[in-house]
């Protein structure tokens, strides 16, 4: 039997035919378009936003300097997102566990499908529901907190009858982020090697012990990155918050009043951009730049944790 060595053909090189050259060029071209687009985003934001660094007074919405304008909004953005994650993350992990381990298989399949559909509902619809339904129904709860826990600074009244408060905004963000976090966690839980789970069960572990010893260690990085991606989504979310909160420039931990609650960067841009002109536009674009940097950092962290988990 004679073995003929395959001819040395370098597939990476173009075969020299015109079609190949053209097609390779087009596809490389589109990849470069993406690079240019992103560079464009960065350049335009910098070009329009950086002049705002010197803004003060009228151009910075009555603040002494640009940071005094951005800081309250940044604070509000972080506060709303953190509230949302504190509520959404445990619930999402619970729902994901139901789908991956607790519910019977056919039910779980339908549930997974429903969660995916819910993740696709536009955020403006969540906002509409938040202001017209949730906010009104939360008023009695806030009143109760005001009456019974008003001595904690978080829950100091007066409670607005519209229910449009920081806590409502956080709740809406939580409801919105819930399907997203659930979807990722479910994927991760489902990927746990069956052998690990069966080994745990065979050693006499109860279902919870199996999940704690086999599923969670395997899924830890995935869960972390799911929460961080959800956080990234909540940070950049505009509409849900813009509908619920009025634009203010206040730093406040208060969760249940309308007058003394913070607003978020994205919502502030959405609500003020229509009326803005001249250097005020620069100011708003600068705040958008700050938001971009923050979400980028959070998303980057989330992805690197996910990547580390895959390698390990």
């Amino acid at each position: 039997m004679t073995v003929t060595a395959p001819p040395e053909v370098d597939r990476e090189e173009s075969t020299g035919r015109v079609g190949d050259v053209v097609f390779a060029g087009i596809s490389r071209g589109s990849a470069i378009v993406i690079m240019l687009a992103l560079a464009g985003v960065a350049v335009f934001l910098l070009q329009q936003g950086l002049p705002a660094l010197g803004n003060h007074g009228e151009a910075a919405y009555g603040k002494d300097n640009i940071w005094a304008f951005v800081w309250p909004l940044l604070f509000g953005t972080l506060l709303a997102s953190v509230i949302a994650m504190l509520i959404a993350a445990p619930l999402a992990i619970g729902v994901a566990l139901i789908i991956s381990h607790y519910a019977p298989r056919p039910v779980a399949k339908v549930l997974g499908w429903l969660i995916d559909l819910l993740a696709a509902i536009p955020s403006v619809v969540y906002g509409l529901w938040g202001i017209q339904f949730l906010a009104l129904n939360m008023v009695p709860v806030y009143k109760w907190f005001d009456a019974h826990a008003g001595w904690i600074p978080f829950f100091e009244g007066p409670v607005p009858n519209s229910g449009r408060t920081m806590f409502t905004a956080g709740l809406v963000l939580a409801v919105m982020a819930l399907p997203i976090i659930t979807a990722i966690c479910r994927e991760v839980f489902a990927q746990t090697p069956l052998m690990h789970q069966e080994a745990a069960l065979a050693l006499g572990a109860t279902r919870w012990e199996m999940i704690r010893l086999a599923v969670f260690p395997y899924a830890r990085s995935g869960m972390m990155s799911a929460v961080l991606l959800g956080l990234g989504r909540a940070l950049g979310e505009t509409m849900a918050v813009a509908l619920v909160l009025a634009p203010t420039l206040i730093v406040s931990f208060n969760l249940i009043t309308a007058e003394r609650s913070s607003s978020t960067i994205a919502a502030n841009i959405a609500l003020n951009f229509g009326n803005a002109s001249g250097s005020k536009i620069d100011t708003l674009i600068f705040s958008g730049l700050v938001l971009f940097v923050i979400t980028f950092a959070v998303n980057f962290l989330g992805r690197s944790i996910a990547a580390r988990g895959q390698r390990g």
Binding site: R28, P122, V175, L178, T238, M239, I269, G288
Partner: protein, 357 residues
């Protein structure tokens, strides 16, 4: 000696293989009892039903594990607590989601009529208008965004999978696509505004600008989906094609892409559904108008999400009527998005690549 053996085997026989356990219906039974006690307390104490449910839940959370601990031992009791907590989290999470879907359906369905679909809001105060202009705006802007992003997205995926592979450029692109997925939608809108303001002066509002902004959000989703699908195409197919002397670009267009097309279509449809509901960028660059505008290169153009937003934030004198419009528009928007999602799943299910997982 013999006695000892008998004694040992007797002992072995009497050792049970399974521990004592509660009957299968135990959780149900406990729930019913807890519910009954809570209802009684609520009736006597005059609580609302929310408080009653909370009391019942607390009773169950304490009672069932105690019972289980007495019969089954501590580890099983912990398991029961966790099971109860997990199902509680699930129920708690379902409340807002079900409420959301129900509210949109019940509040939105009343206003649907042929007039609602065929009229615009031009010159309408209060009753009598429709969302024709917003539906057309959504369709036009989303279609334009799709036309821009799909070729760029799919070709980039082709580059990453077929040409670039592990080259420096491909790594950079992969990283940048990751960055793009995280761009907040309002920042995409600011980018489109800054770009168009450069050519058309400040204060520009255009449908095509909205399409550009949506493309910034859509391209990374399309690239990710197409990349995944192209990676699923087995190398044997490519090699068979090369062996027949087919050039690389014909192999990609005639063998690789057709094999992966179903998955790519699914990914694209999901991406379309995602951007069709985007509000923030369109608020900034496409603007708001009450009349129908079918020309994306000229003047303001309203989409469904923006219409919903303005109906609530700036309702004018007829706030109730505008809220009705908003709910109707929300129902239509959700219906469009759901329809696209179901189509994507059906396409993906019907033509799923046989080589898939």
């Amino acid at each position: 000696m013999a006695d000892l053996q008998t004694a040992q085997s007797l002992e072995r026989q009497s050792m049970p293989l399974t521990g004592a356990s509660l009957p299968r219906q135990a959780p149900l039974l406990a729930a019913v009892i807890a519910g009954g006690i809570a209802a009684l307390i609520a009736l006597l104490g005059g609580f609302g039903w929310v408080a009653a449910i909370f009391v019942a839940w607390l009773l169950l959370l304490v009672g069932l594990p105690l019972w289980s601990r007495a019969v089954e031992g501590g580890r099983r009791a912990v398991d029961r607590i966790v099971t109860l907590l997990v199902w509680s989290a699930f129920a708690l999470a379902m409340i807002p989601l079900v409420s959301l879907v129900w509210t949109v359906l019940s509040k939105g369905v009343g206003i649907l009529s042929s007039q609602f679909f065929n009229n615009s809001m031009r010159g309408v105060l209060g009753e009598g208008g429709g969302i024709y202009h917003a539906i057309m705006g959504t369709l036009i802007i989303t279609a334009l965004a799709t036309v821009i992003s799909v070729p760029i997205g799919v070709l980039t995926a082709v580059y990453l999978v077929e040409y670039g592979k592990t080259s420096r450029l491909a790594q950079v692109i992969t990283f940048l696509v990751d960055v793009m997925t995280g761009i907040p939608s309002i920042v995409a809108g600011l980018f489109a505004y800054a770009l168009f303001a450069l050519f058309f002066g400040p204060g520009v509002r255009m449908g095509i600008g909205g399409a550009v902004a949506l493309s910034v959000l859509m391209v990374p989703i399309v690239v990710r989906a197409a990349e995944e699908m192209l990676k699923l195409v087995p190398d044997e197919l490519r090699e068979a094609s090369y062996a027949l002397g087919v050039p690389k670009w014909r192999t990609i267009t005639k063998v690789v892409l057709p094999t992966a097309i179903a998955g790519i279509v699914t990914g694209v449809t999901l991406a379309v559904a995602r951007v069709a509901g985007e509000t923030a960028p369109l608020l900034i660059i496409a603007g708001f108008t009450t009349s129908t505008n079918l020309d994306p290169f000229n003047d303001r153009m309203t989409t469904l999400p923006v219409f919903i937003f303005y109906s609530i934030t700036e309702p004018g004198l007829h706030a109730d009527a505008m809220a009705d419009y908003a709910w109707g528009a929300a129902l239509v928007l959700v219906a469009i998005v759901m329809f696209l999602n179901v189509v994507a799943r059906v396409v993906g299910g019907l033509f799923a690549p046989k080589t898939g997982r």
